[in-house]
Structures are given as C-alpha cells and as structure tokens.
C-alpha cells in the first residue's frame, strides 16, 4: 500500500489529522530543522537491551531528551556510560513515531570526564585486576637467561612479527619461535587473542612468551585493554613480555605482563641474550676452568713436596738409628768370637774334615788331629790312654 493512499485515507470530514500524520509531519519538520549536532548533557536512566542497543536520557537542570544509540554505533565504545556521566553526543534529532517521542539518535558519544569513557573503562578493569592481585609487583617473574622456546602471540602479517623474528635471528638463533597467529584489532579480536593465549598455555617446554603488536590508534590498541585479555595474559604459565607498541599509552596487558617492552623489537631483545655476549661469557668460564685446574694441581704438587720432605727426614732418622744399632751388634758379635776365647789359652781340636772334637770317645789312640790355638794350628796325635 502506497504512502499517498495512506495519507488520503487519513483525511477526515472535519479536517482533523491522524496521529500518524502529525507524528510523521513532526518528524519531517524536526529532521529538516535540526541537522545532526553535538549535544551536551548528563546520562540518566541508562539501559542496554538484549539487542545491544542503548537507551537513556540526556538531561540538564531544566530539560531532558530521550536518546537511543544503536549497537552498530555503540560497539566502538569501551563501555556504557554510567548514569550521571557528563557526555557529548553527536546525534540526529528525530521523532520516534510509534511513541510520538522526540528523541536523539546518537552516533557518537564522548565522556567529558578526564580521559573520557576509555579512561573510565581502563580504570574500572584495572581496579578489578588490582583487587585480584594481578598487578602485584611480587607476581612479576624473572625472564629466563637462555630461552629455547619462545611463543609469540601477534598478527601473522604485521611488522611486529617480522621485527621479532629479525631480532631473534640476529641475537639468539638458538631459539625456536612459535607463532600463535591472531587478529589484534577490530571486532572480536579480544576473543581471538584469548583463544591464542589459551593455546600458549598448552605448549610444552615453553620458556617465555611475547604478546604484542605495532603502534596504532587508541581504538586499535584497545583490544589489549580488555579485562579478559589481561586476565588471559596473567594466567600464562611462563613469563610474558608485553609489547603493545605505543610509548605513551600503557595497556592493561602491559601492566599484568612480567616485563613491558616499548616495541616488539625491544620485546625480542628483552627475551633473548646476545650470542656474542654468551660466547664471551663462555670464554671467561673456560679461562676460570683452566686457572682452577692449574691452581688445584699447584696445590697438590706443593702438598706432595711437603709429604716427600717429611718422609725423607723420617727415613734419615731411622737410618741413623739403625747405624747405631749395627755398631752395637758388631761389638757384641766381636765379644762372642771364639778367637777371643783362644786368646785366653784355650785350644780347639778338629779332625781332618774340620769337625770339632769335644769328647774322649772322639780321640781313639793314634788319631791325627789339629789343634787351633790363638795364633795358628799345630798337628797333634792321640797317645795310648
């Protein structure tokens, strides 16, 4: 059914307008007379519907206007404006015909409070993280000195990843870089990052993780200010370096990470030692190793010398003692010598074979034998007894 026909049907004999006619005309007048404009006021009666659309009133001391902000427009904002917030809205004034209500269709909304809604959202999420102890400096873990496996959560085709690969290849090629690709901005990016971080948790033998992106607008970086992303970062089982490339704006992701790097390149530098430095360190260790052994063997040699000296002097002393003893023995041996006895006038009888003859029975009559006296031998013969 056409509009013309509808309008025609609404005309009554007394010349009265229908409700629809009036509201439609009012809407046309309002939309023609009030072009899109900025309006300042205080948010009141805020309500977010299931559909994602926001309904609220803007008011000042003496008036108020109903407002709607559709989901396609409000999804760019970090959070709904709390009641009482002073805001600027950019809006199209219109009349909502079904309710005969004058209202603003809001397409943009800025908080006039310090930092605006972004700051507000940031502070809110930060307070929640603080409450759970996730920003406690005592949680910060030291980075490993010589990482083997490094996880990198970032966009697969961004400059950030290229920089991280280049720096790692130059400084610490020992490493294995495991890229977990994810979108880092735009609708749904935060869910993708959280999924990527969940994957990181399942990688075995991981030493350290880098999460980041290159610089961008505040909205682009906002993904890294989501409380959900920050919590997923805090839940990683290994130390994390956050590099959400922006010198001035610190994101929540930066705050919960163990180390914050200003750029992705700086993150790769923080994650890795320099191969040249490590080689120098190895040289030092090698030198200490050699000196250690030299000192040790020097000490052992000294001790051996001392031991040898002690041993030698002991031996000498013992030898001296032995010499005295020998002299003593010689004296005693001398005293026992049979020659000494012969000197006193005794004689020793021996037969032809040298056997000593000690008894009468050994001297049959006529036996020739020899007598040893002190100065020699004489021949003798036994006579008749």
């Amino acid at each position: 059914m056409g509009q013309g026909l509808d309008l025609f049907a609404a005309v009554s004999p007394d010349g009265a307008w229908t409700v629809t006619q009036v509201t439609r005309r009012a809407r046309a007048v309002v939309e023609a007379g009030l072009l899109p404009l900025w309006v300042r006021g205080e948010v009141s009666g805020f309500k977010a519907w299931q559909s994602g659309h926001w309904y609220f009133a803007l008011r000042d001391r003496s008036a108020q206007i109903r407002c709607v902000m559709f989901q396609k427009d409000n999804r760019r904002l970090p959070l709904p404006p709390p009641d009482g917030t002073q805001v600027f809205v950019f809006a199209r004034p219109t009349v909502w015909e079904e309710k005969g209500e004058f209202r603003l269709t809001v397409v943009d909304l800025l908080s006039t409070e310090a930092g605006g809604l972004w700051q507000l959202a940031f502070e809110k999420a930060k307070a929640a993280l603080t409450k759970d102890g996730l920003l406690d400096p005592a949680r910060k873990r030291p980075l490993p000195r010589y990482p083997r496996r490094i996880a990198v959560v970032t966009s697969p085709d961004g400059a950030a990843l290229r920089d991280i690969i280049a720096v790692t290849a130059r400084r610490w090629p020992v490493a294995e870089l495991l890229v977990i690709p994810t979108r880092v901005q735009g609708e749904g990016a935060e869910a993708e990052i959280c999924a990527a971080l969940a994957l990181v948790c399942r990688i075995g033998n991981l030493d350290v993780a880098i999460i980041g992106r290159g610089g961008g607008s505040r909205e682009d970086l906002w993904t890294f200010n989501h409380e959900r992303v920050a919590r997923a970062v805090a839940a990683l089982p290994v130390p994390v370096i956050s590099a959400v490339g922006h010198e001035t704006d610190i994101t929540l992701c930066d705050l919960v990470a163990d180390v914050r790097a200003p750029t992705p390149s700086a993150a790769a530098e923080a994650a890795t030692p320099d191969r040249g430095d490590v080689l120098v360190e190895l040289d030092h260790l090698g030198a200490r190793l050699a000196r250690g052994l030299a000192a040790r063997s020097g000490r052992v040699a000294e001790r051996l010398d001392r031991t040898f000296d002690r041993l030698a002097s002991t031996l000498e002393r013992r030898l001296e003692r032995h010499q005295h003893e020998l002299a003593g023995f010689a004296g005693r041996l001398d005293a026992l010598s049979p020659l000494k006895i012969l000197e006193r006038g005794y004689a020793l009888a021996r037969d032809g074979e040298g056997r000593v003859l000690k008894r009468i029975s050994q001297f049959p009559a006529g036996l020739s034998f020899r007598l040893r006296v002190t100065d020699g031998e004489v021949a003798a013969r036994a006579g008749e007894s």
């Binding site: 790692t168 890229v179 977990i180 190895l282 260790l285 190793l289 052992v300």
Partner: protein
C-alpha cells in the same frame, strides 16, 4: 645436581651453562683431590665445547601453532 652421562643429551643450554658454572666453582673451591679435579676439568671442557657447538650451529626456527577443529595443537613451518 650431578647428571648422569646418559642424561647429558637432554640438558638444555641453561642447564649446561649452570653445570659449567658449578664445575668452575668447585674447581676453584678448596676440597678436591687431583683426580676429582681432573675429572671435573674434563667434563667442563666437554660442556664448553658442546655449548659453543650449539651456539655456532644454530639458525632460528620459526613455526606456527594452530588448533585443528578437534582442538589438537598443530605445529607447522611458518613462512610469513
């Protein structure tokens, strides 16, 4: 920590360097006989050589990790 000879292959670079530092400290310490000192020295030299080899031979590896539809981890070469 005195790893067995069998376990040596599995040592990470970090563990290798820690062991090397420990060896140096012990060698610089006081109570070692020459035999122990020599053994430690030999192990130290070996670890030093291994560590240098690792640094010399290395070329950075870049891979990407994805989850397949069943949720299993999939590691592929990355050629970005």
């Amino acid at each position: 920590m005195a790893p067995s000879a069998r376990g040596r292959e599995a040592l990470s670079f970090t563990q290798q360097l820690e062991r090397l530092e420990e060896i140096v400290r012990r060698l610089e310490g006081q109570d070692l006989d020459l035999d122990q000192a020599l053994k430690l020295f030999e192990e130290g030299v070996e670890r030093l050589r291994e560590a240098r080899d690792r640094l010399a031979a290395a070329e950075v590896q870049v891979k990407q990790v994805l989850a397949d539809h069943a949720g299993n981890l999939k590691v592929e070469d990355f050629d970005g």
